[in-house]
Symmetry: C2
Subunit: 187 residues, 2 copies
Amino acid sequence: MNTLSYGLLALLAQESCTGYELMLKIQPVWQAKHSQIYPILAKMERSGLVQFVSVAQKEKPDKKVYSITEKGTSALQAWLPDLSAEPVKRDEMLLKMYCLWLADAATTERLFRERLKLYAKRMEKFRASLAELEGAEQGSGKPLGVRTPSFGKYVLLKRAIDHARMEIDWCEWVLGMLKSGIDSSGA
Amino acid sequence: MNTLSYGLLALLAQESCTGYELMLKIQPVWQAKHSQIYPILAKMERSGLVQFVSVAQKEKPDKKVYSITEKGTSALQAWLPDLSAEPVKRDEMLLKMYCLWLADAATTERLFRERLKLYAKRMEKFRASLAELEGAEQGSGKPLGVRTPSFGKYVLLKRAIDHARMEIDWCEWVLGMLKSGIDSSGA
DNA sequence: CGAAGCATGTAATAGGTTACATGATTAT
DNA sequence: ATAATCATGTAACCTATTACATGCTTCG
């Protein structure tokens, strides 16, 4: 049982889904391909943490809908209070910062414009998701309390938006420096 | 040549260092252990991108001081304008958000307090580094222009502080929700 | 007509972590 | 005393990506 396994279990605790759905859902927090998820699911099924039912579909491939077992829920609750590993990030664009000074002005500007675009897109997407979640909340009458399964999605969405905002602000701040002639000093 | 190789090259373009120093310097942007860095350095030396001189030290182990070659600088400049891969992040604490609703109030609070502490520490560290950099800048008389080797460190530090600020704010926002009784809804 | 989405899986490879190995000094 | 810092390297293992494999539908 590695961290990704627990993440999948956590998603299954919210609602039953297929491996494919889990792969899509976990992306914002943990990038994993389907080739990593399917074997984990099979392994967790063998150890009784999850179970599945095969569902035949017309005009689409058959699917396996996984759900968490009692044993799985216990495992999750044991993992939750454990001290979490420090976040790991690998960001190619940030590595480029170390040698920005040997790039031309056009390349430098493009680097930041590309990143700006990336996070602007993400922000849009996350905002739409948040609006959707808030709409569903009002529809059901239930408020987003800590003890409701969608609370996690809610705080994660809030954080994702804040993060995108920060990245956008940072890009604009640097872009502003490029324009305001501060860059001309060493050229 | 993978992304980490280019990152090491980028650091060496700023100043010559040992593998050990590179390992420490690259941490904020790309988490890598020495066991990964030494073989890469040896490989880049064999292909002529970097070179090294052995320096004997008294009361410390001998070291190899690596520096970038012309060939290495060309490779860096070719990498810079390439479209950067999207940032990868793996954050165990965020995975836990999905099953927060099955944790007790004390565990939930501890989770956020631990993260708050982590980022408060980082913020302190980054602020100290920024103050140091700004001090060195004033001492040298040279402003932090885009074309100076320390510009990258500067923008990276600014971003690290902004990021830590965001994480802290998020934790405090959630912690506030826990206290204000919003959590009592589903309990 | 080709690309993308749904849906599952395996195999090969690359990337990254932990452990093994050594050894002196300095701080707690 | 024990841990941490400096300093380098290798081996074993785990994690993650890319490629291979299949197949039908819908959208551009």
